[in-house]
Amino acid sequence: MTDASLSPAVRRHQRPMSAFWRRFSTNRSAQIGFLIVGVYLFFAAFGPWVAPYDPLAGSLRMRLAPPSTEFWLGTDDIGRDILSRIIYGARVSFIIMATAVAIGLVIGVLIGVVGGYFGGIIDSILMRIIDVMLAFPSIFLAIGIVAALGPGFFNVIVATGLFSVPQFARIARASVLSLKEREFVEAAHASGESTFNIISLYLLPNSLAPLMVQTTLRMSTVLLTAAALSFLGLGVQPPTPEWGAMLSNGRTYVMIAPHVATYPGLAIFIVVIGFNLLGDGLRDTLDPRMKQ
């Protein structure tokens, strides 16, 4: 074997980031997902400077106007520009999504890592709590939390955040359980590393790949769930330009002005596709074994 045939493999080993980036940037779903999420984040960040109109001010003269050159996506029942409301809504949904997923990630990983690492009675108790949470199927857990706390922007974040805890807890626990038997972790034990160091320097960094994939995919679940809660009247309340609440409002006019409900739904749909594609792309590039 010559040096030339050996060096690419060695180089790939030396720079995992660049190898990751090469695979990620040639992955079709990752590209499209990255693009959609990028555009979405742009609107979430710069919405107020891009939106043509005030999202809260309408003119009754222009109520339920169909799409036109003046109002690209038409207006709603009190004459507010739907495009502007969707653009402002990007920020509302992003704040909910990012905060809720962060809550789910932090609490879930904490539960999963503590349970998986210490095992025994602590693990049993934590896993029973997770089992109880999972006994309420999908959105029911979030609805139950909202029922206890009451509707509203902040409570939707808490509800969708806690609703995400079980998934992160299970992934973190499974990852820690498989890692803690590995030689490099045993070596760290033998060299007298503290428990905190073993968890934060050895276990967590090596659990990053599945957690990153789950974080991305969870974004779309939380977006859908929060929008559903608002649609049901249990989430963000009008007049806040939230996509689910806009859709719920447009429902009343589905016979005479279907555009009021159609475009907010389309916005949710596109952003969810974006995060799903990005998540799929990440999964394929970070860990091909996770691919189903």
Partner: protein
């Protein structure tokens, strides 16, 4: 087999305690004094005190919890605050509608999802394959309340083929079932395709072909049957997913099911209704998962030993 079932049943005890505790605490967390609510606006303090004693609301919380469990065992779910009627019968009626809708959605998702997935796998990389996988991507990302409104707008407003909702007969439930089943259908189609692609590369499939069996028989009887194993494991989970989706679907099509009951209950602060509905949904979901796990263990003995 029996030890496995017993183990699973024992495992269920803490979950059931937790679920009933959550539902009990939901009523305790709710704002307002339940005795005052039961007594009505004009009741004097003595009446409220009497009601409090009668319902055991003057007892410490753990005692109240056991009262609550006892009442549940007797099938007493309390009375609705807004209608004054027993929650039990209201809930059973709604539950039957929701289960009917979910079952219809699940059957639709399974039949269409499996057929699409299997055909896509057999014709890998064909036009059908790429279109159906695009459909699967879209189906999984579609908010079901949006899909419901779009279906209603096209198929009952613009072209009045289906009723816009309100009914619980099979025909009225077709649009709601499509709305509900599409997400699960997309997932099942993707899973079936992946599973089929793996199976049709196996040696025994080649052997079946070599023995001169016709392609439909090989595909259906040999390949699909084995490809179904991973699908069967997610049916329980998908059922829960459909139960969750039924909430928004029922609201869109005004189907008088559990979702409708629950949302109306929350908006009217009718906590006895909310509490019992949540509890019942959780119990049904846990039992469905138990049955799925047991049947899976029955078909795959390796599971029992884990």
């Amino acid at each position: 087999m029996l030890p496995y079932i017993l183990r699973r049943l024992i495992h269920l005890i803490p979950v059931m305690i937790g679920v009933t505790l959550c539902s009990f605490l939901l009523l305790k967390l709710a704002p307002g004094d339940p005795a005052e609510v039961l007594a009505g606006i004009e009741a004097n303090p003595e009446v409220i005190e009497a009601i409090r004693r009668k319902h055991g609301l003057d007892q410490p919380l753990p005692v109240q919890y056991f009262y609550y469990l006892g009442n549940l065992m007797l099938g007493d779910f309390g009375k609705s605050i807004s209608t004054g009627l027993d929650v039990g019968p209201m809930m059973w009626r709604a539950l039957i509608v929701t289960l009917k809708l979910s079952a219809l959605g699940l059957v639709l998702a399974l039949v269409v999802g499996i057929v699409i997935g299997a055909v896509a796998a057999v014709r890998q990389n064909s036009f059908f394959d790429s279109t159906s996988m695009l459909f699967a991507l879209f189906g999984a990302a579609m908010p079901n309340f949006w899909l419901g409104l779009l279906l209603m707008w096209t198929l009952s407003v613009t072209f009045p083929i289906f009723p816009a909702g309100g009914g619980t007969d099979l025909y009225s439930l077709i649009l709601p079932a499509i709305t509900l089943g599409t997400g699960a259908m997309a997932l099942i189609a993707r899973m079936t395709r992946a599973s089929m692609l793996e199976v049709i590369r196996q040696d025994y499939i080649r052997t079946a072909y070599a023995n001169g069996l016709s392609p439909p028989i090989v595909i259906i009887r040999h390949a699909l049957k084995n490809a179904m194993i991973p699908i069967s494991t997610v049916i329980g989970l998908q059922f829960g997913y459909l139960l969750g989706g039924s909430v928004a679907t029922e609201i869109v099509f005004a189907v008088p099911g559990v979702g409708q009951l629950l949302v109306d209950g929350i908006l009217a602060r009718d906590y006895p209704v909310v509490q019992s509905t949540m509890l019942m949904v959780a119990i049904i979901f846990v039992l469905v998962n138990l049955i799925t796990d047991i049947s899976y263990a029955y078909f795959d003995p390796r599971i029992r030993l884990k």
